[in-house]
């Protein structure tokens, strides 16, 4: 795996003629950039813009790069950016293992690999279970395994821990950040939880509620 940084070059989200948010930064491999700010400033929209799923009527400007590659014009599914939301959003029509396999590139023995990944996070023999039977913390782990199984080039986290209870949150947070660092992935996290930001141990960008007319 190449160690590539995620670069946001004057990336901004625009609603009609108002600029909601603008970010200019470089996230190196294995580090987590935290974007903080009150709700409604367009933090999540920024993640959507980076992932290539910005809904109408919003527009974006600027350039998004991974290493040297400009991915701004690529469709969402070819950007190679894994995304995690506050809900695990596991596919309920698939079993736990199938959810992980969904993201894997073509290959053989995918079931075995999925079970190995699960075993690595303390979910031995969970592969055939229905996702609805898992606890919140377990689901969050499966969701990250699924994201990593797709071998993304960067990871986007949108308030990833806000729905977990206090105890699970601390454990899961630690495990997620450790895993991202081990995999040497650049990561951008949007949150309004100071503890999340501290645990990320990376640069923190605070955006304020300013809509600027352009």
């Amino acid at each position: 795996m190449k160690l590539n940084a995620l670069i946001l070059d004057e990336v901004e989200v625009i609603n009609n003629h108002h600029r909601l948010i603008r970010v200019n930064t470089r996230v190196s491999a294995g580090s987590v950039l935290t974007i903080m700010g009150p709700s409604g400033v367009g933090k999540s929209l920024l993640l959507s813009a980076i992932a290539g799923v910005l809904p109408a009527p919003f527009r974006q400007q600027g350039t998004i790069k991974i290493g040297d590659q400009d991915i701004t014009a690529l469709p969402a599914h070819r950007r190679g950016l894994g995304i995690l939301y506050q809900d695990p959003l596991l596919f309920e029509h698939l079993s736990v293992a199938q959810n992980i396999i969904f993201g894997m590139p073509p290959g053989t023995n995918k079931y075995v690999q999925a079970e190995e990944l699960l075993a690595g996070v303390g979910l031995e023999n969970y592969g055939r279970k229905a996702v609805q039977t898992l606890s919140g913390g377990q689901q969050a782990r499966v969701a990250l395994l699924r994201t990593l199984a797709a071998q993304p080039r960067a990871v986007l986290l949108d308030e990833p821990f806000s729905k977990l209870d206090m105890q699970t949150r601390a454990q899961t947070r630690k495990w997620v950040f450790d895993t991202i660092r081990q995999n040497k992935l650049p990561c951008i996290m949007v949150t309004h939880d100071e503890q999340d930001a501290r645990a990320a141990e990376g640069e923190v960008v605070t955006v304020s509620n300013s809509t600027e007319t352009i």
Partner: protein, 568 residues
């Protein structure tokens, strides 16, 4: 390739709704203007309208259509308001919803026949009180069937319209963002001392009504132009305009088709007038409510609403129960002289002979319903997917115009365009199946689309974004994520499509030239036939079929697409 299919589907969708209706209307306007080469009429004139105007009872027919349609819609809406006002936020409402939902899928023809069973002079209610209370040893000679005012028609129309409007309202109220806010507002008003029913009237109804207005108006359009119900229950001299149109079209004298076409055009005007009248009445109603809103009265209409709600609930439930019970008893009855409350004996003869003679109609029913419903579901999904993927541009305008388009076949009376469509199909020698498929599709598509759109538009986008992030292409996401996760609403929409197709009477009879017998067309034919018992069998079958569809729709996706079922 996938993107191209999607944008093509949008065009097919628009054409499928506009072309048959438009062509059908044209096919009625031409003969109405005396252009009908088949009988050597090739000069345009207004003769057909003159002939129509000369029909003495025409004003009465128009009045009857307006009266029955407006009354039934008003009663259904008022009943809905009362039931919601009294039972909203109570467990009773869930009960009502559960009990009335099946009524929604009963075909109109079946409802009409069942009401006829109930109010017949020899029907069960009369038998139960005879001769003990009435002294009747023979059925009374007076009967609410075929009454000149169309009261029986209004009863049957209301019975069908009310569950439709109620469930529409409930689906609006079920929208999470709306219900959360509304519940708080209602509770707030109640703490100010307002009676809950009055609160609903003053606070919730003004917000709710605009959301269900379009379905209500579609219902009104339908009620003023419906054929099955007045054909079975309505008066004959004169009948409603829609029934007259049908009879003139089928008149032995083929030149009567000109007059029939003129009358079909008039039906459009009548339906539009009803809608116009309704829109004016809305203002009066809105004025009334807005005056009430600020008069400080804490118990406005509370008693009336309570009374109406109770009467409506009890009335409908009793009627439905009695209808089902009496159809069931008739379908198994041996000899059953009046005024005995129960038959001499029971027999399976009627079911046996009914099921035997039903084979072809049943096959035809399924041959029509399954492909039509499948096609409608597929097309609706593609269009909705197109809408999603096109989210970036012109989202709002697209959605509104698309949804309004759906109401075209619901607003333009079937008697107005189906004859024209049939005529054009005959000219094109398209046979019978193709035009029948087309006309079923026109009616099935709006319901399937509307039912799917709710789920599709509410579907959590983030599932797709996650899947994109996992590298799945739009096509893969569509097939492997969106469709399986939406399998339950898709199955429901499919079942709804089946139910709508099952229930089509005119849309089968006319384009099929009577040669495609379905359960519904046969049921109407049999109801006019000699055997009340056989008619009961057919009518019950008409009710069972759509319910079977819904039961399967509810059961199958859970079985196929839910690993939880397998792992347990």
């Amino acid at each position: 390739m996938f993107a191209a299919t999607l944008s093509l589907s949008r065009w097919i969708f628009i054409l499928a709704l506009i072309v048959p209706v438009g062509a059908g209307v044209l096919g009625v306007i031409l003969p109405a203007l005396s252009y009908f080469p088949a009988i050597g009429e090739t000069e345009f004139s207004l003769d057909a309208f003159d002939a129509l105007g000369a029909v003495q009872s025409l004003p009465y027919m128009i009045a009857l259509s307006l009266f029955t349609g407006l009354s039934a819609t008003f009663l259904a809406l008022f009943g809905t308001l009362a039931m919601l006002a009294v039972f909203y936020q109570t467990t009773g409402l869930q009960w009502i919803q559960r009990l009335l939902s099946p009524v929604l899928v009963i075909p109109h023809a079946a409802a009409a026949i069942a009401v006829g069973f109930l109010i017949a002079p020899s029907g069960w209610p009369v038998r139960l009180i005879s001769p003990a209370l009435t002294g009747w040893s023979l059925p009374p000679v007076f009967s609410p069937l075929h009454d000149a005012m169309g009261i029986a028609v209004i009863v049957a129309l209301t019975l069908k319209a009310l569950p439709f409007i109620l469930l529409m309202a409930l689906s609006v109220l079920a929208q999470p963002h709306l219900s959360a806010r509304l519940n708080k507002q209602l509770n707030l008003a109640v703490t100010m001392g307002y009676h809950p029913a009055s609160t609903f009237l003053k606070v919730a109804w003004p917000m709710l009504y605009p959301a269900i207005r379009l379905p209500v108006i579609a219902m009104l359009a339908f009620a003023t132009a419906n054929v099955e119900i007045p054909l079975v229950l309505g008066p004959g001299s004169p009948p409603t305009l829609a029934v007259a149109v049908l009879q003139w079209f089928n008149h032995i004298d083929i030149t009567m088709r000109l007059q029939a076409s003129a009358a079909a055009c008039l039906q459009v005007v009548v339906t539009c007038s009803a809608v116009l009248f309704w829109l004016l009445s809305e203002r009066v109603g809105a004025g009334l409510i807005s005056r009430w809103q600020l008069d400080g009265n804490r118990v406005t209409a509370a008693r009336t609403l309570k009374g109406v709600a109770v009467v409506t609930v009890l009335g409908i439930l009793t009627a439905v129960m009695l209808m089902l019970a009496s159809l069931t008893v008739w379908s198994f009855a041996a000899h059953w002289p009046f005024p005995q409350a129960l038959p001499d004996a029971i027999t399976v003869l009627h079911w046996a002979s009914g099921l035997t003679s039903m084979q072809t109609p049943l096959t035809n029913t399924l041959l029509l319903a399954v492909p039509v419903s499948l096609g409608a579901v597929l097309l609706s999904i593609l269009v909705l997917e197109y809408e999603k993927q096109r989210d970036h541009c012109s989202k709002l305008t697209d959605k509104v115009s698309g949804d309004l388009l759906l109401f075209i076949p619901l607003l333009i009376p079937g008697v107005a365009f189906l004859f024209g469509l049939t005529w054009l199909a005959q000219l094109a020698q398209a046979g019978q199946w193709l035009p029948t498929y087309v006309s079923h599709f026109v009616y099935v598509l709006p319901y399937v689309f509307l039912s799917l759109a709710v789920a599709y538009r509410r579907f959590d986008e983030r599932y797709r974004y996650v899947a994109y992030g996992l590298g799945a292409s739009p096509y893969n996401v569509f097939v492997r994520v969106t469709l399986p996760l939406l399998s339950a609403p898709i199955a429901i929409a499919f079942a709804l499509g089946l139910a709508i197709s099952f229930s089509q009477y005119l849309a089968t009879l006319l384009p099929g030239a009577g040669a495609i017998a379905t359960i519904t067309t046969e049921s109407v034919a049999v109801s006019a036939g000699g055997s009340r018992r056989l008619s009961a069998v057919y009518t019950l079958m008409q009710m069972i079929l759509p319910l079977a569809g819904f039961v399967l729709a509810w059961w199958l996706p859970a079985k196929w697409f839910n690993p939880a079922v397998h792992s347990r």
